[in-house]
Every structure is written in structure tokens, then in C-alpha cells.
Symmetry: C2
Subunit: 80 residues, 2 copies
Amino acid sequence: MKARVTVMPKKTVLDPQGKTVAKAIRHLGMERVTEARVGKVIELEIEGGETNEARRKLEEICRDLLSNPVIEDYRLEIEK
Amino acid sequence: MKARVTVMPKKTVLDPQGKTVAKAIRHLGMERVTEARVGKVIELEIEGGETNEARRKLEEICRDLLSNPVIEDYRLEIEK
């Protein structure tokens, strides 16, 4: 199966990288961009099918390894 | 409208960050993870609706600012 984890800074957290990207985009001529936020995405290839046990373990990994729950939210999507 | 840009290292490009993440995940007890790739995601808030002009400009920004086409692929998704 495949899993995709998207980690974004929480809405309440300042995102200086996003602010810089938004400024750069406006500078390139797209003045209508009001906000940009930058996060990361981790794509995983996993042997075997989706089981409750695998999903539980993946949630644990998202929380403990891939994101910092104090300042980031994650979203876990599983394919197949 | 909202736009989401996902930038991933090309399949043919070595991704040392991904390799480290895969190793760490296996170390945490999920040995079935065979590969991990790490990319970035940029979420944009844009005033006004989707137009051909806006999409064309966004593609340009993805290519010139948000990704490095030599080593990265991008995917642009537009909502609303």
C-alpha cells in the first residue's frame, strides 16, 4: 500500500517561510495571492495491505516522528 | 480560490532525507516500509476565481519559483 502524510504549520502558528513565498509570488506579478503556507509531504511505500494495525502504527509515526504536534497538524491518507 | 502545489524529488533523483525517514520508521517498528520520499507542499489563498490567466501564471510560478525542474516534479491543484 501507499501512504501520504501532509504536515502543515498550525493556522495559529506564524509561518515565515510562507510569508516569504507569498511576497515572492506577488513580486512575480500575481498580486492576488493573500497567503501562502509551506508544509511538507512524505510519501511512503509499504509492503502488504491496509490493516487496522498498520493504520494505528502509521498514526503513531505521524505523531511521534513526522510532525511536531505543538506547531504542526498532519493529515494521513492511505491508498489501496 | 485556493491552490495547492506539491513538489517532490523526481523518481530518478536520490532522496537522502527520504532514506533517513524510511530508516527511522523501520526503527520505530514498522519494518514493512520499503521507501519514503520527502517533498514540500505550498498552500495558496488567492483572491478572485479561477481563470485561464490565473492558472497560466500559477504554472509559471510553480516552474520558476516553487520547484527546481532539474530535480523536482510539481503538481498544481486548484480548488473552487
